[in-house]
């Protein structure tokens, strides 16, 4: 009997603690903002997904895996800062917090993550996404100003139109699909750079790295002025551009080429030290 009552007490205590923990694990933060809000999310471990909200509000849903973390949220005027705070030293599993974030589509957003994935879609403001080893995925942006930085996290951009894009990754691979300027800059040390798209709109595109291949696939109808150089690697013009009469260097077979397709509307600069650069038709 005594063991039965004790068992019930233990069970209730466990349930109570679990309930409290569960209650603390999920948290919702809601902020009202005006146009041009600045939102900052810092979360080392755990995925962060960002989508547009309806109207001028910032909504953040978090789900922590342990009670060794807490979510700090502050609003100062039109500036929102939400950060995962670690109550003690934790590893990626215990410290994981999942974030689902909704911000006005024109909000200025900064997201920092060490090991979680970052996903952002349908935004158009000034966006900075930093993930040390995080997988960064961006979709369906228009007229945005996008900065992405990772140490070795791979970066994927899909359908980012008419935007200023600046991607830096030390060794993460960068994959761009249907991404158009006015400016699209990708710089990696070792990461592969792969672009598939039409370079529409006549923007400036520069894909550069130290090592790692650069692969560009564009349609035959693309209007582009290309300049490709690999200091110690190789280049391949599988697209078969027209020779460019205004070159600032003398092309070297297998090491560099310059050419024009159609009216040469977009500028495409490709540079690597040891990588293989290839431009070909889709």
């Amino acid at each position: 009997m005594w063991s039965g009552k004790f068992g019930v007490v233990v069970a209730c205590t466990v349930a109570l603690i679990s309930g409290v923990s569960w209650a603390q694990a999920k948290r919702e933060l809601h902020y009202s903002v005006t146009s041009g809000a600045m939102v900052s999310i810092v979360n080392d471990y755990g995925p962060i997904s960002v989508k547009p909200s309806a109207g001028n509000s910032v909504l953040i849903n978090t789900n922590a895996r342990s009670n060794k973390v807490e979510i700090d949220g502050n609003q100062n005027g039109n500036r929102i800062e939400v950060r995962t705070h670690y109550l003690q030293r934790v590893g990626p599993e215990e410290g994981q917090v999942d974030y689902e974030v909704q911000v006005p589509s024109n909000a200025n957003l900064t997201v920092q993550s060490a090991l979680g994935g970052i996903t952002a879609e349908k935004l158009m403001g000034d966006i900075t996404l930093e993930g040390d080893s995080s997988n960064v995925q961006v979709r369906d942006f228009t007229n945005a100003h996008l900065h992405v930085r990772t140490v070795n996290g791979p970066v994927f951009l899909t359908n980012v139109r008419n935007s200023h894009v600046d991607i830096n990754s030390a060794s993460g691979d960068v994959t761009l699909s249907s991404v158009t300027g006015p400016k699209v800059y990708v710089n990696t040390t070792k990461g592969q750079i792969k672009y598939t798209g039409d370079l529409a709109g006549g923007g400036d595109y520069a894909f550069t790295n130290h090592s790692g291949d650069i692969d560009v696939a564009i349609p035959a109808s693309a209007s582009v002025d290309v300049n490709a150089r690999s200091v110690f690697g190789s280049v391949e013009d599988a697209f078969q551009f027209r020779p460019n009469s205004h070159m600032t260097f003398v092309p070297s077979q297998g090491k560099s080429f310059a050419g024009v397709s159609n009216s040469g509307g977009a500028s495409l600069k490709l540079h690597s030290f040891t990588g293989k650069i290839k431009v070909h038709k889709q």
Partner: protein
């Protein structure tokens, strides 16, 4: 002399060979007189056409690049009264790139001082080690500042230690190759831009690492 005969000898006449018959025809024929006046006008105006077009700046860029490739130009020699030559074309670019890196390094060293309480004598660039072995692009070992950063990160985020250590080696190799490229081709705009990009990469790694180490 009729007009056809006159126009047949007109080229020589315009060169200065004129005789009485030609002059008489000119006085009596308004059409030929006007023709000669027009041709003289064209000749006179043509001589006054000044060179009035400047080529696009890319023309000079192309010339310079080709001259460097052919080894026809070199750096300005240091004159005796100047102890240090700042006229090397790459110096402004290296200075800019180094300044960016200094900013990131300075932030790291300042933070390190705050944490460790040490009083460092200087804030300086962490010169990456040069790889003299051309063509063998191995990642460079970290220098002392790099090692400090990695230790700092490891203290806060052990799971990121290897990531930062490996990538610092990679960016150091990038800087090394880019610096050598600029040294060999100081007027090559592309080489200078590549060096800036390499420094950008290192500054980025430092800035992100600093963020980690300050949490």
């Amino acid at each position: 002399m009729n007009c056809a005969e006159f126009q047949k000898v007109l080229p020589d006449m315009l060169e200065g060979a004129k005789d009485a018959a030609q002059e008489a025809h000119l006085r009596s024929c308004p059409a030929c007189s006007e023709l000669v006046a027009d041709l003289n006008f064209i000749t006179h105006e043509a001589k006054r056409l000044l060179p009035s077009y400047d080529p696009h700046p890319r023309v000079w860029e192309g010339i310079r690049a080709q001259l460097e490739r052919e080894g026809l130009i070199s750096e300005v020699p240091v004159t005796p009264h100047r102890m240090i030559s700042f006229s090397h074309p790459a110096v402004p670019w290296l200075a800019t790139a180094a300044a960016m890196l200094l900013l990131a390094f300075g932030g790291f060293l300042y933070r390190r001082d705050l944490v460790s309480g040490q009083n460092l004598a200087r804030v300086g660039t962490a010169a990456p080690t040069l790889d003299r072995n051309r063509g063998v692009l191995t990642a460079q070992g970290p220098n002392s500042e790099d090692e400090q950063l990695v230790r700092q990160i490891a203290a806060e985020n052990p799971s990121l230690r290897d990531t930062y250590e490996d990538n610092l080696r990679l960016v150091n190799a990038y800087i090394s190759d880019a610096e050598q490229s600029v040294q060999q081709n100081p007027n090559d705009e592309e080489a200078r831009q590549a060096l800036i990009r390499a420094y950008d990469q290192k500054a980025m790694v430092y800035q992100m690492g600093l963020s980690r180490s300050m949490e």
